[in-house]
Each structure stands twice: as C-alpha cells, then as structure tokens.
Amino acid sequence: MTNVAALEAVGLGRRYGTKWGLRDCSLTVPEGSITGLVGPNGAGKSTLLRLAAGLSRPTTGAVSIFGERVEPNSTRHLRRMGYFDQLRPLYPGLRVDETLRLGHKLNQRWDDDGALALLNDLDVPLAQRVGRLSLGQQALVALSLCIGKRPDLLLLDEPVANLDPLARRQLLETLLGTVAERGTTVFLSSHIISELEPVCDNLIILSSSTVRITGSIEGLLADHRVLVGPRGDVRLSGADVISVRDAERQSTLLVRGRPPDLGRAWQVLQPDLDEIVLAYLSDRTRGRMVEPLSSQGRPS
C-alpha cells in the first residue's frame, strides 16, 4: 500500500455566482477504503464529486487523485478514476454492446470481457438499445462503463437513488464484488444513511456546503453518546454537545467524547448512526475530525 491518498482535497470550494456550492472542504480518502458521503439534497455532495471528476473547476483550493491534480482539461487524473454521475447519462440510441465499445475507444485501459460478462450475469440484454432498458439496467450499464476501465478509485454520485430494491441490490453487489476482487477505493454519496452503513468504512457528513464531521463509522459510534435527563439548563463542563432536543420534561443531548458523570437522573445511551448523522446535520458549527479515516486495505 502506498502512502498516497486515493483522493485528497485541500480547502476545496466552488462558488456559483454569490452562492457557495461547497466551501472550504478538506478531506482525505485512504486507498482501499469505502467512504460514504452523506447529507441532504443540496448539501454539496454532487458539487464535491464533480470537482473530483474534473467536470468543474474549483473556486478555491484543489483536489487530487493519487497525487495527480485534477484539472478539467487534463487527462492524467482520468486514468485511475471512474465516475458515475447522478444523472447516469447514456446515449439512448446506442445498444448496450455499442456503449461498451465506446468505453473501449475512449479509455486507455479497458477490460472488454469483464464488462460484458458482468452485464451478462445480470441478464442485461446486450443487443438492446439503452433507451429501452429499465432504470435499474441503465444504472448497471453506467456502472459497467465505470468498472470496465479498471479504475483504482470509483466516484459514485447517488448510485442507487430511485432504484427498485432488486436493482439496488444488484448494483451494490456488483460494486462490492469489484472492491473484493481488486481493492478498488470507493467514494460514494447518498442521502439515505441506512444504505451506506453496511457498506462503508468511513463517513463524511456534509450539510449546507460544509463538512460537518468525518471519521470511521466505528469511531463515530464509539465516540458519541446520547444523554437523556430532566429538562433544564444543564451546563456540561468539558463535554462537546452536538445537539440538544428539549421535550416538555426531558432533554436529549448528543455529546462527543467521554460524557461527564451527571448522576442518577441521567441515562447514557449508545446512539445509532442515524441519530449521530442527524445531529450533525442540524448543528451550525464547522467540521471536526474524530480520528483519521481508517484505511482497511486488503491483508497482505
């Protein structure tokens, strides 16, 4: 395993007119990991992924893939990266096999047999025009275009959005199968946390164009506690309170780090990932690092 991060962003930002699509984003995606990007619609997930793919030029900062700086008109970063756009664009008039041939012509590295076999196994008709396929099948064709170039990093923008459960399962299986075989680094976005949890090592929470927090899922779970106790103005010394929810007689707090001892009136509970993410989505302060993202590569 090399020391170069699969994806690195430093102070990355993109402004559209007066509005910032992404602001001051710094993160590192380690090689071999599966990192999820979660946040509500409009949070900046697509902006970040498009900047990483070179479809957009940053207003501030820079992003690089395996050490190669990403520029819209250069091709160096394209060699090791596969990009799956949210719109899943394909040419409707082309047949599936013709689409794969397009991938062959436009890429230096291409595994024709692998891509065809992949779609064959999933019962996608190779002679059918792409415009006539179902949404799920189109998504699989788009994915096979990304995978066929044998990338070391896959960037996926909401890959399973709007797909029926079977298609979603097929797409995830295909994606994870590639990771199992080749140790591909994956960086994918979603606004549904439950989709990401079983699949990802690490999580980046994005909201209102800024990074709220990053960390391994295990670390996030271990590092946060929910405190439930009587409602009141509780000042917790030394505790990092992420969010507070007040009911009529009860307060629920999410804290990061070791919770202080508050006595018998307070319950200390383990939050699930949903609760943690939601708490950060409503918090206004800037992102903070829990721990360096875990890079669980393949065992040597």
């Binding site: 479809l55 091709t75 394209l78 990009y83 664009p89 040419y91 012509k105 436009l106 890429n107």
Partner: protein, 321 residues
C-alpha cells in the same frame, strides 16, 4: 460514434441522392426536349416551358433547394454536435473517460465534417453536369433575355466547384460553434440560419465581386453598338453599370462614381462626362475568372471554418458543471 448518426446520415444520403437523381433525370429530359423539333422553333409549343411542372420550373425548384443544402446540413449536424451533448448531459459521460475534451471535440468535428464535405463533393459532380444540361440552357431561352446562366452567376456559383463543399463545411462549423456557445440546440439552429444567410448575402454583394479584377465595358449594355460583345457580359456575371475615368486620364480627387452621379442630374449629361473624362459602362466579372473566384472564396470559407472550430474548442474547454 458513427452509429449515433446512422439515421441522420441515412436520411441525408437518401435526400441528397434523391435530389441527384432528379437532376440527372431532368438533365436528360431537357436534352431530349431541346433536341426536339418543337423547341428549336421559338413559336412552337416547347415542353421545356409548358405548364407548372415544366422542366424549366423544375430546374428552378432544384436550384432553390440546392442553395439551402449547406445551411440545412450545418443546422442538422452542426447545431447538436456540442449543444445536444450538453442538453442531455452526456458530456458528463464523454469527458470523464480517458481522452481530453479537446481531442474528443476535434475527432468528432472532423469525422462528421469531412463526411458531409465528401457527400456534398459527390453531389457537386452531378450539379456541374446539371448546370450544363438543364439549368443553363433554360436561361438562354428566347423568351428570357436576362443575363446569367453560367456557373459564375450567383445562382449557380455556390452549388458548383469547390464552393458547395466549402459552404457546407462553413455552415457545419458555424452550427457547431453557435451550439457550443449558446448551449441549446433549438436556438443554435435558428441562429445558424440567420448568420449563414447574412454571410451568404454579404459574400455575394460585397466580397465575391472584388475577389478578382472586375472588367469594364463602355457603352450602353443594351445597345448593339458597343466595344465589348454582349455575349461576354451575358456569359459572365453582370454587376451593374458604373462610371470610371477614361484609361490614362485618371485625376486625383473625387471618385468616378461621385462625379458621375453629379453629372447624371444635369441636362448636358454627355458633355459633363467628357469634360471630366468619365466613361459610363457595364461592370462585370468575366466567365474565365470563375475558378479564381472559387479558390479564393473557398479559402476564405475554410479559414473562417477553422476559426469557428477554434471558438468551439475554447467554449468546450471553458465549460464547468
């Protein structure tokens, strides 16, 4: 890449092929008609001119359609080349594979552009033949005394020689550039038609007449007593009448046209002219300047097409998600 255009290309080939066949048939028909007894005697019923579907009218229709061919091809193939990809977001697919935007565009442009030029070049072979057999004769009928009917005439010039292909390339380059800049196919189509028409008109009125030396024939073009035979003017491209200083007597000062027009409003017009050493006559381009004009105009169109390609490349490189 070809496959995406297969339907359009097929339609184009069929359409232009049909036009070509029509021209061939018409040429043959006109040939045999003109050889017939009726057409050699001016007051008999010559089928070349008889009725609405007469060979003469058909020839005019064909001519009209041919003039539109470059613009149509430019619209249909050029406008969506970049704009279509942007509208359907397929550029997000094409530009994240393995080749740069510049290379992608240039390859696409060259493949489609050169194909169009080749198809039109083939059609030009038919058009050249057609002009000699159907169009030209028609204009020499005894009923029409008008001037024209040779390839240098503005009605035939852009559909023959190199110009037909050059105008097609130009229209394609124009459509592509406008599509890339405007980013919407529908608007690109409209603006391509407008700009192409404007450029065509400017070319005929202002550029082409000056691309080769103009000739001057003194005397009233319609009178029989003049130095240059009428046929040479008729066989060339009549640009209108004008004034010039008699050779060897040019004085510095106001231009011949200005002085001539001042004389024209006076009573003793002829005396005014001779006092100022002016001559009144026909200005025209002679037929054997045809190829010179073709080369130069095509070269200008080629250069402009190159510049438009440059604009397209610049626009594509500038695009941001």
């Amino acid at each position: 890449m070809w496959r995406r255009y297969r339907v359009l290309m097929a339609l184009t080939v069929v359409g232009l092929g049909g036009l070509g066949i029509w021209m061939l048939l018409l040429g043959r028909a006109t040939d045999s008609a003109e050889a017939s007894f009726a057409c050699r005697h001016p007051f008999l019923d010559c089928q070349v001119y008889r009725g609405a579907l007469s060979l003469s009218n058909q020839a005019d229709v064909i001519n009209f359609l041919l003039l539109f061919v470059p613009c149509l091809l430019g619209m249909v193939f050029g406008a969506p080349l970049v704009a279509g990809e942007l509208e359907h977001s397929t550029n997000r697919l094409a530009w994240t594979q393995g080749i740069s935007r510049t290379r992608w565009l240039i390859v696409k442009w060259c493949v489609v552009g050169l194909t169009l030029v080749s198809v039109v070049a083939l059609l030009t072979l038919i058009t050249q033949w057609w002009i000699g057999h159907a169009a030209e004769r028609v204009n020499f009928s005894p009923i029409e005394q008008g001037l024209g009917g040779t390839p240098i005439h503005p009605v035939f010039f852009p559909i023959t020689g190199l110009a037909f292909s050059a105008y097609t390339l130009f229209a394609f380059a124009l459509g592509t550039a406008l599509g890339a800049v405007i980013r919407k196919t529908s608007w690109a189509i409209v603006s391509t038609v407008v700009v192409y028409t404007a450029i065509s008109v400017v070319a005929v009125l202002f550029v082409r007449p000056s691309l080769a030396p103009q000739l001057f024939a003194t005397g009233d073009p319609s009178s029989s007593a003049q130095a240059t035979p009428l046929d040479e003017i008729r066989g060339g491209w009549y640009l209108g009448f004008g004034y010039r200083y008699a050779p060897g007597t040019h004085e510095t000062g106001p231009s011949a046209d200005v002085v001539g027009q001042q004389c024209a409003v006076q009573n003793n017009f002829e005396m005014c002219l001779s006092d100022h050493h002016l001559q009144l006559g026909s200005i025209y381009q002679v037929q054997n300047h045809y190829w010179e004009l073709q080369w130069r105009e095509s070269a200008l169109l080629l250069l402009t097409s190159g510049a438009l390609l440059g604009v397209t490349v610049w626009s594509v490189r500038r695009w941001r998600a």
